[in-house]
């Protein structure tokens, strides 16, 4: 069957983009591959982080806003302490507010007492291995309020980057199928190899829960 110019052009760009998107994503793939291995092998001694974490507790006087609305208080406290990060686990009572401010590898649990205007900050900081692990899972998603999304612009940027990497990897997969299809006679085992991969992945995603 003759190849039309359009198909030729699509094949050309498919191959070119496969090469260059792959190279563009190189460091991201290494980061997520290595941190994924760390997450799946918490027993690896060289990468232990929890025992090595640094913990500090500090108290700071805080100027509270006139209206004790949790969003206003948190915004003011974060600004006065000069910190930034993803805010989560907010618990407000009549006398106080508790919340957590997180960046990968560095978390702060804050307790603001409205009666004496003091903010108690319990911070923990991980080593490089801990930072890598938390970076892998850092997306600002709340298990209790999944619709809320991230509340720190850096988290939003990171989430967008992760989406982009995921879409890039999706493209690399599909483009590899197209590239193989072009040389399927030369690499005849490709059908079997791809079939095995599809069967394995399909079993876990679609079939396993039915058996």
């Amino acid at each position: 069957m003759p190849t039309t110019p359009l198909v030729k052009a699509l094949n050309y760009w498919n191959r070119k983009l496969h090469i260059h998107i792959g190279l563009f994503l190189l460091f991201f793939i290494w980061l997520f591959a290595c941190s994924g291995l760390l997450l799946n092998h918490s027993s690896w001694k060289f990468a232990s982080f929890w025992e090595e974490r640094e913990q500090t507790t500090t108290q700071t006087p805080i100027q509270l806003p006139a209206t004790l609305d949790s969003t206003l208080v948190i915004r003011q406290v974060v600004r006065q302490l000069g910190i930034a990060g993803e805010v989560s686990e907010v618990k407000m009572t009549l006398d106080s507010v508790d919340f957590r401010v997180t960046v990968p590898g560095h978390g702060r649990n804050l307790h603001v007492d409205f009666r004496n205007g003091l903010c108690t900050q319990k911070a923990f900081r991980f080593n490089l291995w801990g930072k890598l692990r938390t970076l892998h899972t850092f997306n600002g998603a709340s298990k209790t309020h999944p619709e809320s999304g991230p509340n720190w612009w850096v988290t939003t940027t990171w989430v967008l980057a992760m989406d982009g990497i995921a879409l890039g990897l999706l493209f690399l997969c599909v483009s590899s199928w197209v590239m193989w299809y072009k040389v399927r006679r030369e690499f005849a085992w490709g059908a079997l190899v791809l079939g095995l991969g599809l069967l394995g992945a399909g079993y876990f995603v679609f079939l396993l829960r039915m058996v």
């Binding site: 619709e147 997969c173 490709g190």
Partner: protein
């Protein structure tokens, strides 16, 4: 270097084809994690009818895990026991399969069992697989055959992916015509990567 090109190309092609469906699972699950609210609106989790069963005695074993395994064996349920919550008169634990969450609640005074199921769907199945085996409950994790196999698969996929990046660099370097643009792509990637890390840390 050229003499290795055919071998590296063959390995890159076959390994790449084999792991591509698994890479799809990991990629799709990233979108599922990052847009959980959207997914909930698109395909809500479906609660299936609750079953209540009375057992002829609760099988007790030497550990909580073995007891829980004996209970699900008696009930004819298979899956990964996620965690176990136990007190004087109750044992409860979720039994998970990708896309299906079954909660078993046993009243040890009456030997009655409440089984509730949630059909989570294929997209959430990918996110479950992405997080498994993971860093939590390491002592319990891998108590089902499927997760033992998945653990090996997940590790294998990552190692092969790392190998693919190395072989990909080799293959690209052999293509002289693509070198300049490739270097620009790497530089751009490094720039974005560094900028994001600087922003976060």
């Amino acid at each position: 270097m050229k003499k290795y090109y055919p071998l590296v190309r063959t390995l890159h092609l076959y390994f790449g084809l084999f792991i591509s469906p698994f890479v799809l699972i990991f990629s799709v699950s990233v979108l599922v994690f990052n847009h959980a609210g959207f997914l909930d609106r698109l395909t809500p989790v479906k609660a299936l009818p609750v079953e209540k069963i009375k057992l002829d005695g609760i099988p007790r074993d030497t550990s909580d895990l073995l007891t829980a395994k004996a209970i699900i064996a008696k009930l004819g349920i298979e899956g990964e026991i996620d965690f176990i919550s136990i007190n004087e008169d109750h044992i409860s634990f979720p039994v998970l399969k990708p896309g299906l969450r079954t909660k078993i609640e046993v009243d040890t005074r009456t030997d009655s069992v409440r089984i509730s199921r949630q059909e989570e769907g294929s997209l959430r199945a990918t996110s479950y697989l992405h997080t498994m085996p993971g860093q939590h409950n390491a002592r319990l994790r891998g108590n089902s055959i499927f997760l033992k196999i998945w653990k090996l698969m997940a590790d294998g996929v990552v190692y092969l992916l790392l190998l693919l990046t190395a072989s990909g660099i080799f293959l690209w370097w052999c293509l002289k015509v693509e070198r300049r643009l490739g270097l620009a792509a790497i530089a751009l990637g490094v720039l974005l990567f560094s900028a994001l890390l600087l922003l976060i840390f």
